[in-house]
């Protein structure tokens, strides 16, 4: 009984770690660029898939992939920002959503053509195999690693944004990019780098997810919609909100899986509806 409960809570915590990582990237991008990055799911999928391709076809392992893949996806995203997204600044921000949606469809479709729709499994890396027997449950080391690293990355990102000079530029750009540019900061470059960073974060989450979930072309679109609910619950553009809500919703989802499994996939959206009813701006959002 407690075994099952803690097992589901751990699964929820792991899902929540990914929600937090993904919604953090979305929040940073949305805050500065005013773009809802629908391609975030595709970038997450790219992370998992590139790691799998590196291992299956080139024999390059997890520890290289976890550094190289996010960097590559980040660079790719920076190119996309320069070539495509940049043309839409100043227009209604719905166009940014539609553009990234189109890009996500293209990427997902291309991977489906090349690799089919079935899942590919990625082995747990050496050094993180096995598990620990706790008094109340069995804890696989890799899963503990995922939760720890995600929380660490989220906290560091939050500290960088809230406490450093670079972060202060980012926050200033979120408030008023033109004024920041008047102070001599290269705001267009900041936009590019921020988008690249957000995408790299998504790809990082994708590499981390590869040994836990099946690597499929549709893993991104499945995740991104829940992450959108997380962002709505946390409050659009709120960094802390997205981290806390991501972990929280993951836990609630896990708890529901224990109590009443059929409702688990619907729960994030029910919570979204409830939060909207009580606090339309989200838990951590500012009322507009």
């Amino acid at each position: 009984m407690t075994q099952a409960l803690f097992g589901q809570l751990l699964l929820g915590l792991i899902n929540g770690s990914f929600y937090a990582l993904l919604s953090l990237g979305l929040a940073v991008i949305f805050g500065l660029l005013d773009v809802v990055n629908f391609a975030h799911g595709a970038q997450y999928m790219l992370g998992g898939f590139l790691a799998w391709i590196l291992l299956a076809h080139f024999g390059v392992g997890y520890w290289v992939a976890i550094a190289a893949v996010p960097a590559a996806v980040g660079l790719l995203a920076m190119g996309m920002e320069r070539l495509l997204l940049r043309r839409l600044y100043g227009l209604d921000n719905l166009y940014g959503l539609l553009l990234t949606f189109g890009v996500a469809l293209v990427v997902e479709g291309l991977f489906q053509n090349a690799f089919g729709i079935s899942g590919n499994s990625y082995p747990v890396p050496a050094g993180l195999q096995g598990g620990i027997h706790l008094p109340f449950m069995y804890l696989p080391i890799y899963r503990a690693w995922v939760v720890a690293v995600s929380v660490f990355v989220c906290l560091v990102s939050w500290l960088v944004i809230e406490r450093t000079r670079l972060g202060s530029y980012l926050r200033a750009g979120t408030e008023n990019p033109r004024l920041l540019q008047a102070f001599g900061v290269n705001v267009p470059l900041m936009f590019t780098v921020t988008y690249g960073f957000g995408a790299a974060l998504a790809a990082f989450a994708g590499v981390m997810a590869a040994p836990i979930y099946q690597v499929t072309p549709s893993m991104g679109s499945a995740a991104i919609i829940v992450v959108f609910a997380v962002v709505v619950v946390g409050g659009m553009g709120s960094i802390l909100g997205s981290i806390v809500t991501g972990l929280g919703l993951g836990l609630v989802e896990g708890l529901t899986k224990f109590l009443y499994p059929p409702a688990a996939s619907a729960v994030p959206f029910v919570i979204m509806a409830l939060v909207l009813l009580l606090r339309p701006a989200g838990l951590f959002g500012r009322a507009v």
Binding site: L91, V106, Q112, N113, I225, P280
Partner: protein, 329 residues
């Protein structure tokens, strides 16, 4: 509401305006004629599907094109109504027109519920909230046994409409579908050209000003959303009866994306645009149906191209060119 001053009397119209009205009448006449001969030109079932999608996109256009709200959850109304129509006609054995009514009723209620919550936010949040609700409906349909889950809701009878039209015959079914499409299109036409429609456009252009003029902006947006949901439901129910099944893909976010693409491609905020877009997208999907995921790739690429270079859409572009030629000459 005071109607005086909304449209000047015909005698005082300037020549370009009158000519533009003539062009509009011509365009409508062409469309109606095309609809009448369509089953001769193409396979009737394809034509019926295009009509259902065209009605769906036109209803969607009321929200995106005239109210400026991007809904990413219209699949819930379209697909949900399909299931509602299926239950009424297959399980209760009622005639197809009651199936359509049930679909409209279901979608209207759902639209009222989700709209009341979603309308509190605008822009991007609105899109994400509507997507969330649609996903909720999708997961419910996956879990509940009566929907048939992954197999879909099969064996919906076409039956006899109004007790005398045998819809088993594809041609009869086509003209029935066409009549329902025209009815829905006419309702939308009336809504767009009513004072209500004008205020909607005013809200889209400048919400604070509309608010300051004393309009109940939230209520009007909600009304537009509910009307759009109800007519999307009509389209979905109609398609379920025509195709004789309802399935999960109708409820999935891809359908919400597809209806956005149809509207964007044809021209947001133009009356005929969504129908043209529906024809193009349906043609694209049929043409590429043997090529697996290339449909997804092409759809995405068309999306990107439209957003980057072609934001007026096809009909919007034509209209702009025609308008410019009048002002120039």
């Amino acid at each position: 509401m005071n109607r005086a001053g909304v449209g000047p009397p015909a005698a005082s119209l300037t020549a370009p305006v009158r000519r533009r009205r003539h062009h509009a009448v011509l365009a409508y006449a062409l469309l109606v004629a095309l609809g009448l001969v369509a089953p001769v030109l193409v396979y009737p079932v394809f034509a019926m599907n295009v009509l259902c999608l065209a009605l769906f996109a036109s209803a969607f256009n009321l929200v995106i094109g005239y109210s400026g709200l991007l809904s990413f959850g219209h699949a819930a109304f379209f697909g949900g109504a399909a299931y509602a129509a299926g239950v009424v006609t297959r399980d209760l054995g009622l005639p197809p027109e009651l199936g359509l009514l049930a679909g409209v009723a279901f979608a209207t209620l759902l639209g009222a519920g989700t709209g009341a919550l979603a309308i509190r936010r605008t822009g991007i949040s609105f899109a994400m909230i509507t997507l969330g609700f649609a996903q909720l409906v999708y997961f419910l349909a996956v879990q509940m046994g009566w929907t048939g889950g992954e197999d879909g809701f099969q064996g919906i009878p076409r039956g006899r409409a109004l007790g005398l039209l045998n819809l088993q015959n594809n041609l009869v079914a086509y003209y029935f579908t066409y009549s329902v499409f025209l009815l829905g299109f006419w309702i939308l036409h009336r809504a767009i050209h009513s004072p209500f429609g004008r205020v909607l456009r005013a809200i889209r252009e400048n919400e604070p000003r509309a608010l300051s003029l004393g309009y109940d902006v939230a209520r009007l947006k909600l009304l537009a959303f509910i009307l759009s949901a109800g007519l999307s439901g009509l389209a979905g129910a109609l398609r379920a009866i025509v195709n004789q099944f309802a399935a999960l893909p109708d409820l999935a976010w891809q359908t919400s994306g597809a209806v956005i693409l149809m509207t964007l491609l044809g021209g947001m905020g133009t009356e005929l645009g969504p129908s043209v877009g529906a024809l193009l997208v349906a043609g694209l999907e049929t043409g590429l149906s043997g090529f697996g995921s290339w449909v997804t790739v092409t759809t995405g690429a068309v999306f990107v191209a439209c957003v980057l270079a072609f934001r007026r859409g096809l009909v919007g572009q034509v209209r702009a060119v025609v308008a410019r030629s009048f002002h120039g000459g």
